[in-house]
């Protein structure tokens, strides 16, 4: 590469891109946060154009959508917000070890659905026979196992034959969806609805049905931080992710690490499914996870594989989603407005990484371009 550069020296291009790795982390974060703020502001402008409300009113509406009260009933929206964060965060946390290993697990949706399905089956079939503590244990264990198995299948093929995991896990999502559709059809008797089941639900703490989910996910978050940062497994994962050859050279069993990590990833997705079914809905349908498995992929990547940054990222995304749907609801826009807002903000944040990793230099000048 150096040779071609030397030859081309006499007609140097106008701009060229240089990789940099010396940007202090506070500056990198400043760029990211600025991007998020600017893109949210732009989205606010877009919605003012569509709704003919002032910018201030739009943001006030978004805040009311997240922190206000639901008109009917006493549930404060804030709890709903925290619940959304908890589920999305749980899925993103589940994906993180796999991503850190450069295993593109796009199957969080399916793994969570299978976990939810296992929980549902236990609740329906064993609900009458087992006592509550035993039933709860069975629900939790089976859903973790179901998620783990769904993650294990692509991992085995990846480890043995290097099968493309992105596409494999993607396909597994749709198989899981159809299994759920089949199950719902059988149990629901053709009505496509399973009535909420009262047995085997997670306990309700202090009259708030979302609190238990939030606590569980908070524990998982701290566990994941320690696991990735301080445990031997976490070290092995990052070495395999950086270079499989290095990993083999220092005596890491790459196949074992791939399979073990995917089992953990799938198991945590299963937990997310269990939280949705046993903790929230007490029922299941093909839309229970509702595409959050895909959003979680973006969250995990944007969070730089750091669980605590992921908390912030899920906070931003859930805020946008709830806030934008409130705006759409109040101003009679289509509900898909929220998808557009989230999509644009994520695209902006993904794009801004460029300015953190590279700098643009103009011909004959050593000055860096301002970001």
């Amino acid at each position: 590469m150096d040779n071609t550069k030397a030859v081309k020296h006499h007609h140097e291009p106008l701009v060229h891109i240089v990789k940099r790795d010396d940007m202090p982390s506070w500056k990198a974060w400043l760029i990211r946060i600025a991007t998020i703020v600017i893109s949210i502001f732009l989205m606010g402008c877009l919605s003012t154009m569509l709704t003919e409300k002032s910018l201030f009113e739009t943001f006030e509406m978004m805040f009311r959508g997240v922190f206000g009260r639901i008109e009917s009933g006493s549930t404060v929206m804030l709890w709903k917000y925290l619940q959304e964060i908890a589920i999305l965060l749980c899925l993103a946390l589940a994906l993180t070890p796999a991503f850190k290993m450069k295993f593109w697990n796009c199957g969080a949706e399916g793994q969570a659905l299978m976990g939810g399905l296992a929980a549902m089956m236990c609740m329906i079939n064993l609900g009458q026979t087992l006592s509550y503590p035993v039933l709860l244990a069975v629900v939790i264990i089976t859903s973790i196992l179901a998620g783990a198995v769904w993650g294990l299948i692509p991992a085995i093929f990846k480890a043995l034959f290097n099968t493309n995991e992105t596409l494999f896990t993607l396909m597994m999502n749709y198989i899981a969806t159809q299994i759920i559709a089949y199950y719902v059809y059988i149990v629901g008797g053709g009505s496509n609805i399973i009535q909420p089941v009262a047995e085997g639900n997670l306990p309700v703490i202090g009259n708030n049905r979302y609190l238990i989910n939030i606590i569980i996910v908070a524990v998982i978050c701290i566990f994941m931080y320690i696991y990735l940062k301080y445990s031997k497994h976490g070290y092995e994962i990052s070495v395999v992710g950086e270079s499989q050859n290095t990993a083999r050279y220092i005596g890491i069993n790459v196949k074992k690490v791939i399979i073990r990590t995917m089992v953990i990833s799938g198991a945590l997705c299963g937990v997310a499914g269990m939280l949705l079914v046993a903790g929230t809905d007490h029922s299941i349908n093909t839309n229970t996870v509702g595409g959050q498995g895909f959003t979680a992929i973006m969250v995990s990547w944007l969070g730089q594989f750091n669980p605590f940054i992921m908390v912030l990222m899920t906070g931003v995304i859930c805020f946008l989603r709830l806030g934008a749907s409130k705006v759409a609801d109040t101003c009679m826009l289509n509900a898909s407005f929220a998808d557009i807002v989230v999509g644009v903000v994520i695209l902006c944040v993904v794009g801004c990484e460029f300015f953190i990793r590279y700098s643009v230099k103009f011909r004959h000048s050593k000055k860096e371009v301002k970001e």
Partner: protein, 329 residues
């Protein structure tokens, strides 16, 4: 019965064929565009908006519509809309070197959002009671068939009774196959996807190839969305009706082993698999749901078998999913 089944399979397969031909072109340049589902939505809704405006401009009467314009306007709108999405994707991944999986998924979220948003807004504009927009007049121009097809019995029905977008899909796939395997441009494109550094050293403009391939691929995929609305759904757009066909198109790329000519047959097999549940005798409604997973199961089997056999010509482009930075080794 069997003739009807084959025709139905072809009709269902064509959007997948467009999507996967587009994705093959993109992947040959080393970009795994997971935004294809969103791009197909955008292609569909752009075409719908175009034909909606044209129908309104003509006062909603069939007589004052020009057949050529009625076809060309949605076609151009679909190509334009999806190319724009491809441009966003390639700017982010080729120029800004963003992660391709994340960018693609964000494009999908964004594209499906756009499609449903504009679709929903148009539905509200028309004040119809059904949650859909019916562009049956435009659709009637799209579904013009060869006049003598009916006279030739089963042969005519299977091979000649389709609308022109079906034949266009096959022609595009064949042209792409030809260009990829028999021309210098195709050779260069494959080189870019296999090893961009080598291609760069050989004097190929890597970024240009990546841009053109991604945008062209998106445009082709966008036509699939249009075909779905105009031919399969008879010009009726309703939100989320397109479903997960975009993902199935990506699955078809693997099934076809990155060969557009195989994708033609593959798309019809997929169409048949999607539809098999309606034709197998004595299935309960619940077993039908299980049947719908067939295309995905078949894709996984193909994926596993190809990775086990490790035949060199059956592998994905070597640098698929990796961004290229000249000064990095």
């Amino acid at each position: 019965m069997i003739v009807q089944f084959i025709c139905r399979a072809i009709l269902l397969g064509v959007p997948l064929l467009y999507g996967s031909t587009g994705e093959i072109v993109t992947e040959k340049s080393g970009h795994l565009n997971l935004g294809i589902p969103g791009i197909m939505y955008v292609g569909a809704i752009s075409g719908v908006i175009g034909s909606f405006l044209y129908e309104n401009a003509c006062g909603n009467s069939l007589d004052s519509m020009n057949g050529v314009l009625a076809v060309l306007i949605p076609l151009l709108c679909a190509v334009l809309g999806s190319t724009l999405m491809g441009l966003i994707y390639s700017f982010l991944t080729a120029t800004l070197r963003a992660n391709q999986n994340v960018t693609g998924l964000a494009i999908t979220t964004f594209g499906i959002g756009l499609g449903n948003f504009f679709g929903g807004s148009l539905i509200k504009l028309t004040d119809s009671e059904m949650p859909s927009i019916a562009l049956t007049k435009t659709s009637s121009f799209f579904s013009v068939k060869l006049p003598f097809a009916d006279d030739l019995g089963a042969f005519g029905e299977i091979f000649l009774s389709h609308d022109f977008l079906t034949y266009l899909a096959i022609i595009i796939a064949l042209v792409v196959a030809f260009v990829l395997n028999r021309t210098r441009v195709g050779l260069n494109l494959r080189a870019v996807g296999e090893n961009p550094a080598t291609a760069d050293a050989a004097g190929i403009n890597v970024i240009k190839y990546k841009y053109v391939a991604t945008c062209l691929g998106s445009a082709i995929a966008g036509l699939g969305g249009l075909q779905y609305v105009m031919s399969y759904a008879n010009g009726v757009w309703s939100n989320n009706a397109f479903g997960d066909r975009g993902w199935m198109a990506i699955a078809l790329v693997i099934f076809a082993l990155w060969k557009p000519s195989t994708a033609i047959v593959g798309s019809f097999i997929f169409g048949a698999l999607c539809n098999a549940n309606n034709y197998v005798q004595g299935l309960g409604a619940e077993t039908q749901e299980l049947f719908k997973m067939l295309p995905y199961v078949v894709t996984i089997i193909v994926l596993v078998i190809t990775s086990m056999r490790k035949k060199r010509e059956h592998q994905p482009p070597a640098s698929l999913g990796l961004s290229y930075f000249r000064e990095e080794r």
